[in-house]
């Protein structure tokens, strides 16, 4: 563990408020020697939102599926130094014990509201079964909770909508149902995997503010998986930026946006280093994410980085502190020193 990890945890609040803490999570598949997720660490505190940002294929969805115990293993190989969720290590739980957590203490909503609901069951059946699975209540009580939850996600006529089938609802409504389904048992952690990507822009804002609002009243920790920096800026407290399976930068959202340190983060923002010259501007990142079989041996961003030198190509850079709670995985940090003056 590096100093940066410690400061990150401080930024996320007191240790006892930590809902989920993961250290050194690595995930590979089958016999491939390359880890698609390599040495990822983070913490989410109660009532906090941690955003995992990155392009598709950076490993953010695999990470979230692994945390939910939804990654079939084998073929997946999941390794980690430590993980803590409500005082237990979920990644070492048996299938049954993990299933007891899922949908109860940790819940997940997905990118595709159109296909994530089962077409042959009513909305009510799908919410109620989640309550009955985890709570020792009768059907009437479970139904009452489902109605209350639907009302809380602002579905008009919740009582009546309980009998609706998914195909009778719009995309935004379905995502509201998914959120209701995820939160009905008041989980401590909500993993939202690109919850607004498939929705219209106006609906996106509604869904995000709904999640924020519910979080404010329940204190649920949110792990928000997204590729959209606008979403991050609006909703997250903390951010980790992933590239090709590695965390390249992490920190409080203000620090990351005002002073991005990793060339990849800077490229993502289409911004310039805060103290650099105008010529140092990076408007887009040249090239594309290499396939896992061709990940560079050193820094995985080296092939696309304008600052990369021999050391970058050869050795994996460590996470180094760039500010309070702000860490970056780059040999050239702080980047200002390397910019042409």
């Amino acid at each position: 563990m590096t100093a940066a990890d410690v400061t990150l945890s401080q930024a996320c609040g007191q240790a006892e408020d930590t809902v989920l803490a993961v250290e050194g999570l690595s995930i590979g598949f089958g016999s491939s020697p390359v880890d698609l997720v390599d040495d990822v660490s983070f913490r989410v505190g109660r009532g906090r939102t941690l955003a995992i940002v990155g392009e598709s294929g950076c490993g953010k969805s695999i990470t979230s599926l692994a945390l939910m115990g939804l990654l079939p293993s084998p073929p997946a190989r999941i390794a980690h130094r430590s993980a803590r969720f409500l005082g237990r290590d979920p990644l070492t739980l048996g299938q049954r014990a993990f299933a007891d957590l899922r949908g109860d203490r940790m819940a997940m909503i997905f990118q595709e509201p159109m296909t994530s609901l089962n077409p042959v069951f009513t909305v009510g059946q799908q919410i109620i079964e989640g309550v009955l699975r985890h709570k020792d209540v009768g059907w009437n009580e479970a139904r009452a909770r489902a109605v209350a939850m639907l009302a809380r996600v602002r579905i008009a006529g919740a009582e009546r909508r309980l009998g609706a089938y998914p195909h009778e609802l719009s995309g935004g409504m379905r995502q509201r149902v998914m959120i209701a389904m995820a939160l009905v048992n008041q989980p401590d952690l909500l993993i939202a995997d690109e919850p607004t990507t498939a929705l219209d822009v106006t609906i996106q804002a509604q869904i995000l503010s709904l999640i924020e609002e519910l979080q404010a009243t329940t204190g649920t920790a949110v792990l928000l998986i997204t590729h959209d920096l606008g979403v991050v800026a609006e909703t997250a407290h903390d951010v980790i930026v992933m590239y090709a399976g590695r965390v390249v930068e992490s920190g409080p959202v203000e620090a990351l946006f005002s002073d991005p340190q990793h060339p990849y983060t800077i490229g993502l923002m289409g911004a310039m280093p805060s103290m650099g010259r105008r010529e140092g501007r990076l408007l887009s990142i040249p090239g594309a994410v290499p396939p896992p079989s061709r990940f560079p041996a050193g820094c995985r961003f080296a092939t696309r980085c304008p600052f990369a030198d021999d050391r970058c190509h050869a050795q994996k850079p460590p996470m180094v502190e760039a500010g309070p709670g702000h860490a970056v995985r780059c040999w050239k940090a702080p980047l200002e020193e390397y910019l042409p003056s």
């Binding site: 299933a99 089962n118 009513t122 389904m181």
Partner: protein, 315 residues
């Protein structure tokens, strides 16, 4: 729903007319003449001419068809040229064993094929999957009559557990009837189980990767609920289709199996009738099977509407 069923029933009539026309014409294309067979050894030209006249074989084919169709419209399927029984009586006699064999075979197929298909999909790539696939492939490849003969050798000749041949009407002796039907149902149903297993497997594989199955698992539902409630309910559609088609085929009669186990069913009736150019019987059987097929398809569509909310009218 009711109006849907009525509309579908209305469409069935022209379909049946077309089928009967087709079969009627095809039969007339077949070489061979029933009259020659009926006329006996000496083939007296006068007798032949008289017979031709009597059965209307001298009329043009369309006229013969209309004549037959008019009879059918009045509820008369005609007489067998060979046995001089009415076709209706023949059908009434041969239909029950065929239906019984069809139902029992389908039961065997469903009970064996669906669980095997689910298991091999859920355990894709494991030993269970491989074994199920090999068994299914064997089930598809082994000829029914040969498997039937082997079973008779084992269970009737060697072990003496089951009767080798002989059909016992259900009404007279239900237990004896069912015992006699075990082997035929296993032989026919086994082959169908293989078909159903393959279809169940591929349907389940498609559904198991779907987002809503992932959602069901994310809810913490246990394996059984995820597989049987969320996945299987959605894999059911192709299975219903396949079962319907298989059942329709069975109603046409399992010729070889009926032969091996001497079951007096549709298959043998049909084959005999075709060989004897017993036109009225062929027409009657075809009409009957075609109507059954259409009704089954209708039933399948109704089942679809029951299990698939997307097909129901929005409220």
């Amino acid at each position: 729903m009711l109006s849907f069923v009525l509309r579908r029933l209305a469409v069935m009539a022209p379909t049946l007319v077309l089928v009967s026309m087709l079969v009627f014409s095809l039969q007339k294309l077949l070489p061979g003449d029933p009259v020659l067979a009926m006329a006996g050894e000496d083939r007296d030209p006068a007798v032949i001419a008289q017979l031709r006249e009597r059965y209307g074989f001298n009329d043009p084919v369309p006229v013969q068809y209309l004549h037959w169709a008019r009879q059918v419209a009045h509820g008369d399927l005609g007489m067998s040229l060979r046995t001089h029984q009415t076709v209706a009586a023949l059908l009434a006699e041969k239909l029950p064993p065929t239906i019984e064999l069809a139902i029992l075979s389908l039961l065997v197929a469903l009970v064996v094929g669906i669980p095997a298909g689910i298991a091999s999909a859920v355990r894709k790539g494991t030993m269970t999957d491989h074994v199920a696939n090999v068994v299914a492939l064997s089930g598809l490849s082994i000829p029914h009559f040969w498997l039937g003969i082997l079973l008779i050798l084992l269970f009737s000749v060697t072990l003496r557990w089951l009767p080798a041949v002989g059909y016992v009407p259900f009404a007279g002796d239900p237990a004896g009837n069912l015992i006699a039907m075990i082997m035929p149902a296993v032989v026919v149903g086994g082959g169908l189980a293989a078909v159903l297993m393959r279809h169940t497997r591929s349907a389940m594989l498609g559904v198991l990767n779907s987002d809503y199955v992932r959602t069901a698992r994310a809810k913490g539902l246990l394996f059984r609920a995820v597989i049987l409630r969320h996945a299987f309910r959605n894999a059911l559609f192709p299975i219903v289709t396949m079962s319907t088609l298989l059942f329709g085929e069975l109603l046409g009669g399992a010729v070889l199996t009926e032969q091996v186990f001497t079951i007096p069913g549709f298959g043998k009736l049909m084959v005999d009738a075709v060989f004897n150019r017993d036109y009225a019987v062929v027409q009657g059987v075809v009409l009957c099977v075609a109507a059954a097929f259409l009704l089954l398809n209708l039933a399948a569509d109704v089942v679809y509407m029951l299990i698939n909310p997307r097909l129901r009218r929005p409220r």
